[in-house]
Amino acid sequence: MSFWLIQSLNSLALGGVLFTLAAGFSLIFGLMRIANLSHGAYFMLGAYVGLSVLDQGYGFGWAILAAGLAVGVLGAVVERLILRRLAGKTLAQVLATLGIAFIIADASLWVWGGDPRPVSAPGFLRGAMHLFGLTFPAYRLAVLAISIVIALGLWLLLDKTRLGVMIRASVDDMQMARAMGIPASRLFTIVFCLGAALAGIGGVIAAPILSVYPGMDADMLPLALVVVILGGLGSLAGAFVGSFLIGFIYSFGQVLAPNLAYFILFLPMVVILAARPRGLFGRLSA
């Protein structure tokens, strides 16, 4: 009984982490039609920045803030200086984002070294929580809560603000949105910056669970891809549902069939693609 509960909680926590990664990826794709293959690298860079802030003795909140800011600014710079020049050239964008991913990965290896670095959860979340006579690792609950807050915030931003209306209009019909005077170019920078910042924050909150290590980027990127393929590109709800679905499949797979955990990810993707090539919530065809 408690095995299933604990594993479910692990799945939910992983799902929450995946959501911070997949939401930005999906938004960036929806608006800019860029498959941002440096997204995993932003995630890892965020984790490393958070680690350094924690090493300096600052708290977890500062680590999240610093990682979000640093990675977000980097994302904005990359969008302005590189991706902007490649507008409309899909292949070139893919290679450029990959190149950026390699640069970030190698720079991280240079700065932070090659050994995995464990990160401890903030003090008040370190222990276990007792609820209904069961014990839960408190930090996983906190991760779940943070990701739900982020999801709510994103939903409010997209659904209730003027900026969100402009973003949704541009996702649905870029030409028409431009004709209506929506500053699409500024939106690109904002959304790319936001997506990168979310990935960076995701890296920090994932660090106590996954620890921080070189290769984290290449581990997380395919998970994010599977999430958005399942959920549907450009859809926030799709990223949310897909993240938790993959969180469950991957966590349980790792416990029940550790050798084939990666392979099991393949199955839902095949089923969804066979039945609904656009993903569960997708309206866009790439």
Binding site: F102, I103, L233, L273
Partner: protein, 331 residues
């Protein structure tokens, strides 16, 4: 002019061990040719069919692991293991094609990336079968007709032979009516479909052939290194193959060879002099897409036009992908 160039190139290739100045350079040439095999097989998809795959290293791994595993664990001979490896890789490509071709464009790229990473994950995690992070070592090179391919010179000529056969086969294939229909599905999928071509089937067959040739390259890779590990299947490796195709010139016959030469030489040169060659490679990615759009072949072509010498390689450039929005295929 072109024929002269070709003869000079052939003469240089055939005599390379004589003037290269040592085993290191002969081996480097073999590495270039093996990389060229990968790039050419990937180019079928990327350049001719317009389907950008980022999981091509998976076929390398699959064919290398199957042949290595059969020889090490079951004691199979080289011939049988190679045949089984090619059959297995082709079957996997057929299966992956069914999945990936549900989509096109960026979604296709993301699905192939995910599939490739899943193969990597299996190689890395299923340690009982694959040796995990350590990979499979202690493999040997084959001895076709009793000729031991251990020495660098012999292996160089063997690789050269395979490269010539594969390049010839690809040249014939893409110039055949079927090759024309592949380009038609790339340039004008809807029109091709309206004309009665089965676009899906054409793409799927190209996908499978590309996977098969990737398997051939994978065998050469494992023969050369006599070792296979998950590192060889990584996303970085798939990306490198794609870089070779794009740097050289997608949809051309010589482009992938030029791209492979550039990337392999750069990698060897850089790793000899610079510690941080992964970063350098990343910078090269960005610089190439910013400043060399269309690849080396298109760049040379532009240079040729500018110099006004008529060195325009017409039959090759006409095979290059049409710019988006072009209404007519160039054929």
């Amino acid at each position: 002019m072109r024929r002269l160039l070709l003869v000079a190139l052939a003469a240089a290739a055939l005599t390379l061990p004589l003037w290269a100045g040592g085993a290191y350079y002969v081996n480097l040439a073999s590495q270039v040719m093996i990389a060229a095999l990968f790039a050419m097989s990937l180019n079928l998809l990327v350049g001719y069919a317009g389907l950008t795959s980022l999981g091509h290293a998976g076929y390398l791994g699959l064919s290398a692991y199957i042949s290595g595993w059969l020889m090490l664990r079951l004691g199979w001979g080289h011939g049988a293991a190679a045949a089984a490896a090619l059959a297995g890789t082709t079957a996997m490509a057929a299966l992956f094609g069914l999945v990936a071709l549900r989509a096109s464009g960026i979604s296709f790229l993301m699905i192939t990336l995910a599939l490739g990473q899943i193969l990597w994950g299996v190689a890395y995690r299923w340690a009982d079968m694959t040796g995990g992070d350590n990979g499979l070592s202690g493999l040997t090179r084959p001895s076709p007709f009793g000729i031991d391919l251990g020495p660098p010179d012999r292996f160089y000529f063997f690789t050269l032979g395979v490269l010539v056969v594969v390049a010839g086969a690809i040249a014939i294939w893409v110039r055949s009516p079927f090759g024309a229909s592949i380009r038609a599905t790339r340039d004008q999928a809807r029109r091709a479909s309206a004309l009665g071509f089965n676009v899906w089937l054409i793409r799927w067959l190209t996908f499978v052939v590309s996977g098969f040739l990737g398997g051939v390259a994978g065998l050469m890779y494992v023969y050369y290194h006599q070792f296979i590990s998950p590192h060889s299947i990584s996303l970085a490796n798939s990306a490198e193959m794609l870089l070779m195709v794009i740097a050289g010139g997608p949809g051309t016959l010589v482009g992938p060879v030029l791209g492979a030469t550039l990337v392999v030489l750069l990698k060897n040169l850089a790793s000899a002099y610079v510690d941080r060659w992964v970063m350098l490679l990343g910078i090269v990615y960005v610089l190439i897409v910013l400043f060399l759009p269309g690849g080396i072949v298109a760049g040379l072509d532009r240079l040729g036009t500018r110099l006004g010498r008529g060195a325009r390689l017409p039959s090759r450039t006409s095979e290059a992908p049409a710019p988006p929005g072009a209404t007519e295929a160039s054929h």
